[in-house]
Symmetry: D3
Subunit: 317 residues, 6 copies
């Protein structure tokens, strides 16, 4: 039985080396990158049996995505399409005061036409959990409808549904996002949201704990996780609030931090760990992710546990 099925777009990420600018670079580094595949890989590496489901163009670019995802041990359930593009994004790493800049080139991606029957619904029904994020419904009307259908299908089958708000200002406005997402929330069991998104998009106020409680009250979530950057993460579950500080990091690449957190959190919850333990794995995996180039948390469970146990050494030889 599969532990976790995730669904969403995975793009090719194209980034200049070092701190070069897109405008003048002669080379680009190429990596597969997508919130939901990032989550699936983190979960797989933390012990879950994960499947990433999506649609890709039947081209060398689509195959490039699948090739890299599979390398992490993930199962890929791909609807290969003769139509639609391979989404890409260009990433320029910043340094203060120059911000890290993302240029999306993902319109008309093959994934935007995904309908429920493009997806492995049997696997979704059999899985312990199904996950997607707020990026997916933002990509097309078709996807908004598909996400709603699949969340309902999953929930109806007893699969825990998990959802990360993951607001992207370059895709939609806060108001549109709020409208769409709150419609989806009735079919969501576990909500993850950055505190900033809760405030700016979901229009929540108060402390992080108050935000979590308000969301749970309004939408009936089984669990609400609020991620708070340097301030760590907080979860409301069974009416109890659990807090977990962040692990200090030297950041090499911040992209994918939240996804690493979610994947590890879900993997440990699926494995039966309690919420505080899952939060610890989540924050440790997120911290390790920040030290690794690319979107993906290329970690082992042992490495994560060493951070949880705070016994990682500076040089091991």
């Amino acid at each position: 039985m599969t532990d976790l099925v995730t669904f969403g777009e995975t793009m090719l990420r194209l980034s200049p080396p070092d701190h070069e600018r897109l405008e003048t670079t002669a080379t680009l580094e190429l990596r597969a990158a997508g919130a939901e595949s990032n989550v699936a890989i983190a979960a797989e590496r933390l012990g879950a049996d994960a499947v990433w489901a999506s649609k890709l163009p039947d081209s060398p670019l689509g195959r490039r995505v699948a090739t890299e995802l599979r390398s992490h041990g993930l199962e890929t359930a791909v609807a290969w399409s003769d139509e639609g593009r391979q989404g890409t994004y260009y990433l320029e790493h910043g340094a203060a005061p120059r911000g890290t800049n993302v240029v999306y080139d993902r319109s008309d991606a093959a994934v935007t036409t995904t309908r429920p029957d493009d997806l492995p619904l049997d696997a979704v029904r059999d899985a312990a959990a199904f996950h997607t994020s707020g990026i997916t419904p933002a990509l097309s009307d078709t996807l908004e409808s598909t996400v709603a259908d699949v969340l309902e299908t999953a929930q109806a089958a007893g699969t825990t549904t998990t959802f990360d708000v993951n607001y992207r200002g370059k895709l939609w406005s806060p108001a549109s996002a709020r409208a769409t997402l709150t419609d989806l929330f009735s079919a969501v069991d576990v909500l993850v949201t950055a505190e900033r998104d809760a405030r700016d998009v979901l229009a929540r106020e108060g402390s992080a704990a108050e935000i979590a409680r308000g969301l749970a009250d309004d939408h009936g979530f089984e669990t609400v996780v609020v991620t708070r950057g340097d301030a760590g993460a907080l979860a409301l579950h069974d009416d109890a609030v659990h807090e977990c500080p962040a692990v200090e990091t030297e950041t090499v690449d911040p992209i994918g931090t939240g996804d690493a957190f979610v994947g590890a959190f879900l993997a440990r919850r699926i494995a039966g760990d309690d919420v505080p333990t899952a939060l610890e794995y989540g924050t440790a995996t997120a911290a390790l992710k920040r030290t690794i180039p690319g979107d993906v948390a290329v970690v082992t469970r042992e490495e994560v546990e060493a951070v949880v146990d705070a016994d990682a050494r500076e040089i091991s030889r």
Copy 2:
């Protein structure tokens, strides 16, 4: 006064190093690449004062294109657009029996909405020559109409209009191309076509000379140039046929060979050289281009003349 204005799409070309495959590569080389900017650069380097006109998205990707083109001394007349993508293409260099493969990702490019008033029409009218290729009208209905308008505008102003058939099977069928192009031909003074395109697209038969003569007879071209790969090039002008053999090359990168030929041919014609001389510059520049990575003929006039004079040495020190 400008010698030459060219108009067309310039893409970002993304290619794996050496002979790596797109499916497994970790890096991509990034270069600006487009038939009409290739022509303009070759012309500029051979002594013409060239302008490349087009529409680009107002983004780091669009600026990346302009940045590279300007480096060759070209003037760029860009309509910066808030809409439309930056077209890209992925290039995988082959080795027999594996063909060189081009994956276009150019749909909905900003350029596809270019209307005549996005272009420097005054410069077109004042220029000695205006050039575009069969790729441009293949990209959108808007562009088909714009190309027709601008060719007519140029011709009416006394600017020599030059056109390269440049058939791309991944953009349209031979029948569509033939229909569209033959409609444009009445406003074209100088036609360049690969012999293969003349046969497969323009449905011409007979020898290269017969093809040239037939095209000139049917469409009233002032000059017809037929490029023949290893067999060199042939031009019909003032009722005379001029042939020029190809220069033997060790090929490093074949993309852009035809554009280098056209740019050099036009530059020398504009400078007042006769057709046989212009053919020699064209074939020499084309041969040099094949030794240079990228779409662009990074050559000097001295280097081209050394090839024309056949006195290039193996090592010069």
Copy 3:
């Protein structure tokens, strides 16, 4: 049901870029490389459902191997070991008269202690075919015994056993190889051998067809395939000899040519194609492999079929 299980050592291949020498290089390219995983990948890419089975050290180096193999869609059945090294080899690409040089550093690899129960014997029994090569028994006495056991187990279960002689002079002498291999041949259904190995190691004489017939007569092989480099390949099957010429190539990296041939040949045989057809796929895949850096045939079935159909074009755009 699995189509093909292969078993053997996969190493990390470390090679200087371009034609740099090991003695002076500052960087190395890193790739997974092993005869039997090369075969499994080629088979998977040609449509078979393939599993590669082996033992790897539980270290970042062992994981590096599994990571790359899985990227090709292969299932990996790995016995993770706390003992034994990750085998490596250093590859220096030559250019005449400097030969390509391989420096093995594979002693005491984890794989050398593999016993039958480290392997997925149920999958072997259920598979259509099981494959290994003469490299595997050359690596240790334990492996010699394990190979004998697994071939017998497979054959007893009705799995077709396939074996590539694959002689490596840096591992053992021709006499040792001949003694060991001929002992194994009774459990082999399909033998593949380079003509040179048949002569130098198996001490066969006569034409390639006579060699095939002699081997079939002496050991009762169902099929004997003799690969002949530039001269193509020949197969004896059901008392008929089938010949297939080689496809002309521009060689980028010759390593893995034979494995690509075997993988494609087996995939098509398992899929039900006849021997002449399988030979065509084998020689086409081998030719494409030579154009690709690394040990692995990163090809699609469509590309192979285009070579078989001889309609690959120089540039496709």
Copy 4:
């Protein structure tokens, strides 16, 4: 009409990647680098129409410089020379306590023989401003005389003359510099100096404001700008002192910081902004420059304004 003409040497900068040492590196990164072209590029990118004037050798190395400068949209007015070298400098990036080290190899550069009539004097006379720095007269006696002539020519024509002290201890002694520069100051309208240079070279004492006032009093400058590193910049203009703090940065490459400041300051002054505003653009551009590899501020006006407005975000997506 041109806004700004700058004049000075542009070198090829050769630097090892990462923190490698020159003594052991196998590769070098190559970029065009020169104080006055850095200024011109920053000005162009901030909205000025800039021309860089100089002499370069007519060689691939000289062309390499022009190629890169033109890519930034700059107009280049180059006297191509058959004599004289292309100046180079080798840059080794340090990390405390290892200082960043510059090895100049610029003797006998073509630029050192530049006479006024090698320069576009008409453009200088027509421009809003003419700029050079203390490096230029340090390079040769000819250049000392040429700088004096051109400053006078410009000032006489009503062009604002701007001058950055830019002391280089590897070119001349403080005493020589002081003697030469103070001779030039009578033809300078706007002086820029690092506080350290004002003290060590111009022998000024007191606070930065006192230094500015003293210089203005002694030499009749219209504006004096004192740059103070982490302490920001200060300008004396119309008898008022304006201070502007520095923007905090994570430094990727410090070379060219001062030039970025000057280019942006001048561009905004020429565009009509007041001194405090121009200082803000200058410090913001300088801060962004420090995040970009190479000598050149590859920025857009929008990016600079986001820093001025303090609304740059860590990740924009």
Copy 5:
């Protein structure tokens, strides 16, 4: 006369670029790396005439080591062996909380069979000093015996014997190390130990000064140096304790810091400097090492002295 002979294993160090992980990297940087050759190079660069003695396999890999070591001006006294491997180690640079990770692949290295007569014993006897570290006897029983013999031979000949504890937890346990090392100490004149090793391996307690005094009292060392990371270093010599603070650094690569310290300390002691001066050179060289990629302190004596004199400037031009 040789100043210093060092003896120990030098490996090939293989490390992914930037912060890439071994599990996913496509390239590795290759460098020679070994505690005792690091010491010899630092000593040579600080003015000593140093020889590195060891055994290497007669292969491109062994030659790669010698080639790089010789480049630093070192004399290499190599016993070329037809047996035994070239030891390697894989280094993955970390970033908090991900530790820098070393994967040794050094078993059965050629060096492990080194016997005294493989070494240049006459040079050892004639040298001012002979140095090895605790890594060497940890590698094999043969090496434990060889180290004991050579230390005795050296001491008997009047050569100062120096020894760095250099404990490696991946090679042996603290208890084994303590037993072996304390047996060797009777033949050691100068002991260097990290404070942590003194506590964890040599089971010493108290302050660093008490540790030094205790070691000197128990084993009769002429000099004991205790290195203390950020806290600098301390030496007991002639009954006096000398302390030296560490120099603040921005760390690029921490590997080899201790060896750089030892090499510089020894070079200056051999040159006749007193212990406090040698400590200053040691800490300055160690600080510079941390700014340089690789194991080796690629420094000049002038650079070290600039740090000692605290007059290194941020940018020198």
Copy 6:
């Protein structure tokens, strides 16, 4: 005793990767390169004990040269100079019809002021052979005089003097070269010349054998070697003419071919081999050099002997 002392300039060679052009490249490969150090390295690698003597600037660039030369096992006798530049040359690899282009930037190199007492004259007198080439006297009048002095000193001491004509058209005219070289010839024992240089510079006519005989007759050379590119080499010695064909090669980098020939020829002559044998080593080493990037023949004696014995295999594993 030293076998061979060579004297001449060694430059830093800066070349774009692959076939990139200098005008557009972003990176350069850096290598030490000089005719006489190339010869010394080839000789050292073929078994001679070689010393390279020259003057270098006391800078990171000068040290970069020495560092690389020493890595090959060569002894370097360097006069470190506070004056004069480090010579460089920029190398652009061609492909027909684009020639390989060398841009020298070697004027005012430190070496140009070398006087005899900067050189290790005792080593020259004690050596079996002393070698320089026609490049050295072309660099400055001082060097012309120094070369004459040192050749005479060597010859007077019984050291065999060897000289390679090595004409460089970018340094001097044929007439100047002929005048200078023929003055030097009285102090030369062994002359090596390309057949083309013999004709174009030394104004010789007739067959290669006639050229050799004429030179020997006119100047009293003990041995004359004429290298003939693809046609191999020919030597006149003891009144006998020995011919040796060239070895067929796939050329990776042609620079340094002649130097590799000379180094190997001299090493074997010094070792006592007869002229025909030395020619075989020379042509084999020259052929191997052409397969190796850079100026230097990074070969082993075993590899050369395998080519001499014609038993090099395509892949050795």
